[in-house]
Symmetry: C2
Subunit: 467 residues, 2 copies
């Protein structure tokens, strides 16, 4: 293949042609992880170029994480460079659903650190549950979830989130989507006005639309959801879907006055509030506000949590804490129309929680993410300037602000061609995007990879690097 | 406790008092499985009764399966006698949802043979899947199901049911309920007329009601669903939910003319047909008709299958085969509003299918069920007369016909007090029940238990035994 690398008639400089062809070959899988490249000297002689020309291309490629020099051993295709196309990627937390990919692309949203998940431990617990499968375990589990898991979740919520509810108020769901499916049935949102944050979690919005709701876009400002604006737009909405701990995708917390205003609104018009507490476990600065649910005197808050961010999305497990009169009805809906999570996955998770592994894992991830976040932030600030880098106090991604007339959708396309998977901020808006930017997940980016990936990002965006 | 067994002032004969108290103690858990009873002689002397009186009570109790004589070792509480109350029972296929129970009651519907499931093999496969859990496995699976499982299901359907579809047309669901949840969203059944068999699977009807459909009861006769009646009642229904292979609960097959009539109806008014093929694997007499789906030229049939009957309900896995244009939309709904079955359970099942275990298991169960069915039928015919015993050609239960003015709901209550779990046929009707009877599952009833359980049933129903 190295024969055909150069088009000698082209105006493009030889080193750029080399860079473009080799990075393209890595991205389309022609060159695969761990493959050895010819030495700069050998390739230069083969192509009749000056050795410095090949070294310039190799330097650029290494700087952007496509290839790795390993001293005397030679130069190899780098591991993180591979997008591949074997299994479908998950729907990310913001931005559009990712294209099929064999492993997450650098910056891809919605995934915890896959390299840091305690797989062996999980496997041991899963195997133990499988071995313990009794004839009774074969019988269909309670549609609200198995007792041990509901108990473990109730205990976790009391300790970690200050939500004191008996296990009977906890319903195990098939993740956030499962909870939303149950809620939209329970509250019969068809043709009803529903408040949604603008910008907001686009999959939640799409879910509400799929359920037939009339989605009302309520703007978000520095204090989070603008409750007064919501009341002006749709005073008697059936439901408000909010992310108070860490607004999705902008990251601010809903202020205390707004929380009280929202709760008052719901109580005054028999509206309901869905509190999407999707990643409150990850906070790196300051103390978190308690969840809205803990202030819910009138019983209007349906609290939704997920294990997709803390453990792994393939687990498909989350939970819903509902005011007592609703829990039984939710279980009935689950029994009739699904979803009913499999009993053995529930049992494995219950053991993981009850034996203290979950608490330890979350603490470990918080430290790991703090390091990965800091490393990425430093590189982004170097490359794009500190004023463009919005860290927020928590979460699993950094927002690279690109306000102005930029087209962040086109930028995401360019990144995808460079093997990078950021999400466009504008996709979180139902209406015209007031802010633009790229959401960059740091969960799967080791600190030592950050410089190369940010360089590749900067090149893809064609933003000149700062000196 | 044996001191207080007798009320000497009561008019009831002593042997009946003994029978009633001891069977009650077994059923309420005061006496537990394997517990040793005093010998008839010892108890008689303790209570100041003739030994023959105690022996009469013991004989009755043994005949109804509450206790077991083990020769010189003594007399013990029998294993199958125990209802207990530890875990919730599944929603049965017909009749109302069962009360919480630690193990299935004799005759309880909706369960495969729990003693015959290859647990060790399943466990080994599950553990292997758990060990093989890669970082990629942690990522969210395709909302339509993991590729290997869709492929295995497509292959199974081709071989076992003559349905030739590519894997892309198969969507993995969270059992029948999960499929119904997706279908009701997909077809937006809210306030729309939907045909339902009368009598029919009451949980399907309840699911349609929960989804907001206007359920139209279409009568069932000897040929299955009366399509002409449906067209008279609601000519432009959105959907018809039918069980053509083995009508739930009456057991007849939908005749070929009716099948063609139903398909024509759907094609003529853009209606849809949900084919609930819930237990077609189990047929003991004659050859099955091919599924409706295999005749579906116009692409109006949504075919639904489940592994709850063939493997175990706690697995919560089933599938849906949809006409090509709908599959993608179904996957989108699943991605947005659930349910998304856990990836590892899917992987275990895929291996179970691909390695041929499923085919072998179904063949084994078919033989086992044929034996259990025959043994129960013989005893029922002895006790109630052959004209009351409706076997059908397949399925997992026998219908004991009790036509006339009997109250089968009250009979089920009486059975429950005797530790038996049949379901009332009248519960399968939305309107007035045209037929009454008891649905008796044979899947968990060993042939040697059949005589005792039928005796107990006959006593509970207070129907005099035939000579």
């Amino acid at each position: 293949m190295f024969e055909a690398l150069l088009d000698r008639a082209a105006a493009e400089p030889a080193y750029r042609q080399l860079y473009r062809r080799i990075s393209g070959a890595v991205l389309d899988g022609t060159l695969t992880e761990g493959e050895r490249l010819p030495s700069a000297r050998a390739l230069a002689s083969q192509l009749g170029l000056a050795r410095g020309t090949v070294e310039a291309a190799y330097g650029q490629l290494a700087g952007e994480g496509y290839i790795q020099g390993r001293g005397a051993a030679g130069t190899f295709v780098a591991p993180v460079a591979i997008p591949a196309a074997a299994v479908p990627a998950p729907a990310p937390r913001a931005g559009r659903p990712a294209a099929p990919a064999g492993r997450p692309l650098p910056f891809q949203m919605g995934l915890p650190a896959l390299d840091a998940f305690p797989r062996k431990l999980w496997t041991r617990l899963a195997a133990r549950q499988a071995h313990a499968l009794s004839p009774l375990g074969l019988v269909a589990p309670d549609p609200a979830g198995i007792a041990s898991l509901r108990q473990a979740i109730a205990r976790y919520l009391a300790v970690a989130r200050g939500i004191a509810v008996p296990p009977e108020h906890v319903v195990v769901t098939a993740g956030f989507q499962g909870a939303l499916g149950l809620i939209t049935r329970l509250l019969d949102v068809g043709d009803q006005p529903v408040w949604m944050e603008e910008p907001g979690y686009f999959l939640a919005r799409a879910g509400l639309v799929a359920a037939g709701a009339r989605v009302v876009q309520v703007p978000v400002d520095a204090e989070g959801l603008d409750v007064a604006a919501g009341m002006a737009l749709a005073p008697t909405a059936r439901l408000a879907l909010v992310s108070p701990s860490h607004q999705s995708p902008l990251g601010m917390a809903l202020s205390l006055p707004r929380r009280l205003q929202l709760l008052d609104w719901a109580a005054s018009c028999d509206g309901w509030i869905v509190e999407d507490d999707y990643d409150s476990e990850f906070r790196y600065v300051g103390r978190p506000l308690p969840p809205l649910k803990s202030l819910d005197r009138a019983g209007r808050v349906l609290y939704v949590g997920t294990f997709s961010k803390t453990l792994f999305p393939g687990l498909r497990l989350g939970y819903l804490v509902a005011p007592p009169p609703l829990t039984q009805r939710i279980a009935e809906i689950a029994a009739l129309l699904g979803p009913l999570p499999a009993a053995d996955a529930q049992a494995t998770l219950a053991a993981f929680l009850a034996e203290g592994h979950f608490g330890r894992h979350v603490r470990r991830m918080r430290q790991l993410y703090a390091r990965r976040r800091a490393a990425l932030a430093v590189e982004l600030e170097k490359a794009f300037g500190a004023d463009r880098v919005a860290l927020g106090a928590g979460g699993m991604q950094i927002l690279l602000r690109l306000d102005g007339a930029v087209d962040d959708l086109a930028m995401v396309e360019a990144c995808r061609l460079a093997g990078l998977g950021p999400s466009p901020l504008s996709r979180a808006y139902a209406g015209p995007a007031k802010r633009r930017g790229l959401l960059l997940s740091f969960t799967n980016l080791a600190p030592e990879q950050a410089p190369a990936m940010v360089q590749r990002l900067a090149r893809a965006l064609s933003v000149p690097l700062r000196p």
